[in-house]
Structure formats: C-alpha cells, structure tokens
C-alpha cells in the first residue's frame, strides 16, 4: 500500500501532466482551424482549374494528342512521396503512414530491385523511418510542414516532374492522410504520375471558347498546373490530418488523466480516513486502559 505522501505526489504529477496535454490540445486545435482555413482558400482555385481541364478534355478533338504526363510506361523505377509529421504525440498518425510506406517500398523492392525505388520523405518522423529502411538522409522537405506553402510544394513537384520527363522515374506515388473529419483521417495511396485523365461521363456541352494561343498549348500547360495542385492538396490534407490526430490524442490523454485523478483521490481519501480511524482507536483504547 502506498503511503499518503506518495499518493499526494502522484496526484500532483498527474495534474501537471494534464495541464500540459490540455494546453497541447488547444494549440493543435487552433492549428487545425488554421489548416482548414488554408484548405478553404484553396478550393476556389482547384474547382476552377478542374472545371477548365474537364472542359478541355471533354471537348478534346482528334488533333489534340494526349499529354505525355498521362503516358503509362513500362515500370522500371518508382518514386514514393510519403507525408508524415515533424513531431510525435499524434496518436497512430505517423505509425500508420510509416507502416504503409514500408509495405509499398518492400513490395516495389521485390518487384524492381532495391536501387530502383526512390523515397521522398516529408517530415522528420518519416525521415527517420526512411533512414531505417536504408534510404539516404534527405532533410530538404521538413520546412514544408511547418508552414505549408504553394511555393514549397511547387519545388518538389517540379523536381519530380522533371525526373518523370527525363525518364528517371516511370511512376510517382503519394502516401498521405486525407482529412475527412476531425475524428477520422483516411490513409490514401495514390498514383500521381502518370496522371489519370478522366473525362466526365456526362457529356456536358462544353462552352465554345476562343482559345489563345491554341488548344494544345493550353492543355499542355494546364496539366502541369493540375499536377502542382494535387501535390499542394496532398500536403494540405496531410497537415490538417496531423493536427486533427493530435487534437484527438491530446483530448484522450486529458480524459485519461481525469480518470486517473478520480481514482487517486479516492485512494487518498480512503487512506486518510483509515489513518484517522486507527488514531482514534489508539486514543480510545489508551483512555480505557487508564480508567481501568
């Protein structure tokens, strides 16, 4: 049985931990709100660009050759971009992405050979996992997560697109969390390049635009923009998911601390009562002895 003093110490330490976790919860929920705001700001651009692309693809005439970005080549080299976070304490967020990354890398290594699989780790936690997996240290993309900007993701997507263009990789895949809601984030594994160009089924009558300079060159520059956009979307999705996961994890920790405190204070009160009772018995017993 622990002594009164020990229990008091534990209560104290649980209380201070609880203060920390609840502060962290508030911080990440503020960050989550900010990340959601960024996503909101980005939606108009995405919708516009997609509508435009859709319009062009539906109206595609025979003289437009399909983009080289959509070309399926024989798979020899593959690059995987995996999004995790810089810090931990966000539940199973990092563990899930890392496990998926390991699965994907392992299966590609068996299929294509060790040196034909490239990994672009985003976030310190992913980097650590990458080094463990035998990839070289690559710390260029840490800053992307702290302050997700279009420019940052643009650089990475530009590099990957160059590699695809020059044939250094034949496929680029993403692994990231999609922010579905505060309490649910869905792990996604998608092919980024070659891009899947799907024309919408319903043949909406495309507006007949005047096109400057010509359809082919518009299409040629629309598709890279759509690619950059997808990279940015994945980054934002992953960042929002991280904050959501951390908010939930910290909420759980705070709730746990509450339960623990209840238990401990019950134990403390019981012990105190016991001590008082035994003292009383001592005194009463002593006085009986004197009277006798």
């Amino acid at each position: 049985m622990a002594s009164l003093k020990e229990i008091k110490g534990r209560i104290h330490s649980v209380k201070s931990t609880q203060k920390i976790t609840s502060a962290m919860k508030m911080v990440s929920s503020a960050k989550l709100r900010k990340a959601q705001k960024v996503i909101e700001n980005f939606l108009p651009y995405e919708q516009k660009l997609n509508a435009l692309l859709q319009n062009f693809l539906t109206a595609q005439e025979d003289d437009l050759h399909p983009s080289s970005w959509a070309e399926e080549r024989e798979l020899q080299r593959v690059a995987v971009v995996a999004f995790a976070s810089n810090s931990s304490l966000c539940g199973s967020f990092n563990a899930n992405v890392i496990r998926k990354m390991e699965q994907v890398v392992d299966s590609y290594r068996r299929q294509l050979g060790e040196e034909h699989v490239l990994l672009y780790p985003i976030g310190k936690k992913m980097q650590k996992a990458a080094v463990k997996k035998g990839f070289a240290q690559d710390a260029r993309f840490d800053g992307m997560l702290d302050k997700p900007s279009y420019e940052g993701s643009f650089e990475l997507s530009l590099e990957l697109m160059r590699m695809f263009e020059s044939g250094q990789v034949d496929r680029v895949e993403f692994i990231y969390h999609h922010f579905h809601s505060r309490s649910s984030q869905i792990l996604r594994h998608e092919t980024w390049l070659p891009i899947a160009l799907k024309t919408s089924e319903e043949r909406l009558t495309p507006t007949n635009y005047l096109v400057e300079p010509d359809k082919q060159s518009i299409l040629d520059s629309l598709i890279p923009k759509a690619l950059h956009l997808k990279m940015y979307a994945a980054l934002l999705d992953s960042v929002a998911s991280e904050h959501a996961a951390r908010t939930i994890a910290m909420q759980l920790a705070t709730d746990n601390a509450d339960e623990l405190l209840d238990e401990l204070s019950l134990q403390y009160n019981k012990l105190r009562q016991q001590a008082i009772t035994s003292e009383l018995l001592d005194i009463v017993g002593g006085s009986f002895g004197m009277n006798a």
Binding site: F42, L52, Y150, T207, Y209, L210, V211, S217, I218, K225
Partner: protein, 82 residues
C-alpha cells in the same frame, strides 16, 4: 463584368470591374464587358483592372490562365507578387 483573381493560397480579388487588361502569352490584351467566352494562357506580368469607381489597380501575377464566360472573368494564377 465580374472579375475574380484566384491563387492556390487565397482569393486575391473578387468584384465588379469596368475593364481588365491581362498579360497574355502572346501579348497584353484588354477585356471589356460582355467579352465573348475565352480561355487564354497568361505569362508573368502586370494585371490591371479598373473598378466601377474609376479606381485603377495594378498587381503583378505569375503564370496562369484567364477564363471569361457569362460575363465572369476568372483569373487563375500560381501567385501574385507581394
């Protein structure tokens, strides 16, 4: 006509304007009210619009597109100079 200037990070401007002049890939051009539907690629350069009050604003934009349809001009650019 309505003008929207949209970047991936924010909506820079949205409102009614009298005219807008854009850095088209083959040269600067200006659009007025009820321009025919058009899609054009834009290059990096200055974008100028005149509000209904007569106030003129110039911002420099990066590469992108403009789409004009139903008297709404949407400028999608990758960023604007801050």
């Amino acid at each position: 006509m309505k003008l929207e200037i949209i970047t991936p990070e924010q909506v820079v401007f949205s409102g009614d304007v009298e005219l807008v002049s854009l850095p088209g890939i083959e040269g600067t051009f200006t659009m007025l009210d009820n321009h025919a539907p058009i899609v054009s690629a834009l290059k990096k350069g200055p974008l100028r619009y005149r509000k209904l009050t007569g106030e003129e604003v110039t911002i420099s934009v990066f590469e992108g597109f403009v789409e004009m349809n139903n008297n709404v001009a949407s400028v999608c650019v990758e960023g604007v100079e801050k």
